[in-house]
Amino acid sequence: MTSVQLEVLLQTLISGLLLGGLYALIGIGMTLIMGVMKIINLAHGELMMVGMYIAYVLFSSFHIDPYLSIFIAAPALFLLGVLLQKFLINPVLKVEAIIPENQVILTVGIGMVLANIATIIFSSDYKTTPVDYATKAWYLSDYWKASPIELSLSMPWSVSFCVALMITAALWFFLTKTDIGKSIRATAQDKDAAMLMGVNVERMRVVTFGLGSGLVGAAGCLFIPIYYLYPDLGGQFTLIAFVITILGGLGSTVGAIVGGLILGVFESLTSTYAGMGWAPVGRFMIFVAALIFVPGGIMSLFKKKGLGK
């Protein structure tokens, strides 16, 4: 392997890992909701879009850095999630319906309404938050003069990646060490048993939906410095979250992280070695392969080997 080929490969892997970390954060919110409520939240991408618009408004009106707006966007999205769950999804969950998946259809509707409200308020124009550090990067040759290859590490991408990791770690701490976190996990494992043990399942559902929304809102704030924003952007990220959820194993947080990283790296590798037009195809190949070969997701493999909890 020549140094040029090595450079391409390493650069591709770096891009893939950075992208994968962000994908993971988007996926975690969905998998959390999936685990506790047993429904797929197809408004997930639209909730992220709402988070991005909050970051955009804060940046353009008050010059608040998108990364700082996490502290406003995530709680706002948590609240939005709680309201959606309490007043829209819970009532539908209680109703006996011919189609068992009517909550899923409801989430599609919520997504459409959010996208259209955004169009009315902000028009369908593209929006960005042009931050000063948008194209800053660290270069290997700046630190190691004799380096035979040149690698670059984008600053906003790396910051977004690290923040995503920090949020994930905080979430893991919350789920394993706190009382509410344990109740959420109990609800996810067995709703009836949790109820018998005195867990307020209804409230856990509300909290979980809020938490999932807050996470994806934070992901939106991490995405906007490196991407852009328009009302219909939700769909493509819902899809990515869905693929990660299936790949990682329904309801598994660790699975979502691993799934996100795998998806990111795989997409980058397809872009480099098969052509960028093939990246979406690669995404679905992974999706189908996961369904066929590891129907329980990556977590089921870990469990088999006694690694997962």
């Binding site: 124009d125 042009p130 980058s268 590798l269 872009s271 960028m276």
Partner: protein, 396 residues
């Protein structure tokens, strides 16, 4: 009794004549445009430009003392709606000339109706080559055709950059594919080797894998056909990876509008792009129109607006020369057009398989100090081109 009737009739006839002489009639022109839907932004720009032109024309006494009265019909960029609007205009309103529309699909539909009803149609900003290749006698086009869009860029590359190799990146749509094909063909004819020709899905987040492959291939020129957000992401990530090609060239739309510079910021510096018009052109009225537009609406118009603005002057010119204001009279006058507008010289020629086509030089813009400047052809240049450009490392 009979005499009285004759007198009354005479008085009546006289009064009718008098009234028609005293107060000249209005000339009503209804313009079909996309004012809703995806293309609404361009439709809006063109509507404003038509209005500016009509205001100016009326302030100077109208067309042969007839006041030009404009109104607009929204086609929503749907060919069937555009067709219905124009059928109504010709059949019931008897409008002797049709001006307008934006998308090529709509313009095609309108052109077919106009030719069938033998009414002249002036195409303003629709680029599909096909429209003026169908032996239509009544269809005229004042903007350049798609096949010639990249002429200026190729000319600049050939004369100044003289590259050996090129990489072409394009979005996987009809627009991107045709642009990339045309450039690949031009490059081959010029003896430039195309090392890479890669498509991507519009709206992608991360171009770096693709770009690291481009970097490894080390092309002299990187040519990109993209809409605006992809264009700025591409340039930003090219800067991140420090890919030092001799030239970064944009194929069209995405690179030529001010939003590109706003979004890509310093990464946009020195990027060149093809375009049809710029406010810096030295045609009489170009600057005045652009200033007027900016004052009223806050931003400079692109070639779409300039073409619309000038289309009314072309119409005025034809109407003034026409023997009578019948469709055929106006058609013959349009055919003989030889005028210079804010958009450039207008002359409808039959050549290269096109009929009634106006051939205008396409321009090359370069981003210099955060502004789009016209750099090629040299006779139109507002600033001297910057070439060779500094490497990314030197730019800090």
């Amino acid at each position: 009794m009979k005499r009285l009737a004759v007198i009354l009739l005479a008085v009546f006839v006289l009064s009718v004549c008098a009234s028609s002489f005293a107060a000249a009639a209005d000339f009503n022109l209804v313009i079909p445009l996309p004012l809703t839907g995806k293309q609404a932004k361009f439709g809006e720009m063109m509507k404003r430009s038509y209005e500016i032109a009509a205001e100016e024309i009326n302030a100077k006494g109208g067309i042969k003392k007839n006041k030009l009265v404009l109104s607009f019909e929204d086609s929503g960029a749907k060919p069937e709606t555009a067709r219905a609007i124009v059928e109504k205009l010709i059949d019931t309103k008897k409008q002797p000339i049709i001006v307008g529309e934006y998308t090529s699909a709509c313009a095609k539909a309108v052109a077919a109706v106009a030719e069938e009803r033998k009414t002249p149609y002036l195409v303003v900003a629709s680029a599909d080559d096909d429209i003026t290749q169908k032996n239509y006698k009544y269809v005229f086009r004042q903007n350049q055709v798609n096949a010639h869009y990249g002429d200026g860029v190729i000319d600049f590359i050939k004369n100044i950059v003289k590259p050996k190799t090129m990489a072409i990146l394009y979005e996987s749509s009809a627009f991107g594919t045709s642009g990339a094909e045309a450039m690949a063909k031009d490059a081959q004819n010029t003896g430039i080797k195309v090392l890479l020709k890669e498509k991507y899905e519009a709206g992608s987040v991360d171009f770096k894998p693709l770009l690291s492959k481009v970097k490894a291939a080390q092309p002299d020129v990187i040519y990109m056909v993209s809409y605006v957000m992809d264009a700025s992401l591409l340039m930003k990530q090219i800067k991140e990876l420090r890919i030092d090609a001799k030239l970064f060239a944009g194929g069209a739309a995405g690179f030529a509008i001010p939003e590109f510079i706003d979004n890509a910021k310093d990464a946009a510096e020195y990027v060149i792009t093809a375009t049809l018009w710029s406010p810096q052109l030295k045609y009489a009225g170009a600057k005045e129109y652009a200033e007027k537009y900016k004052k009223k609406y806050g931003d400079f118009p692109s070639y779409h607006g300039a073409s619309a603005y000038s289309a009314l002057y072309v119409t005025k010119d034809a109407l003034e020369r026409a023997k009578d204001w019948t469709p055929d009279g106006i058609r013959n006058a349009l055919k003989a057009t030889n005028t210079v507008t804010a958009f450039g010289p207008i002359k409808f020629e039959d050549k290269e398989g096109y009929q009634n086509q106006n051939f205008i030089d396409t321009l090359v813009l370069q981003v210099i100090k955060g502004e789009h400047e016209t750099i090629w052809p040299e006779k139109f240049a507002s600033k001297k081109y910057v070439y060779p450009m500094p490497s990314w490392r030197e730019r800090r």
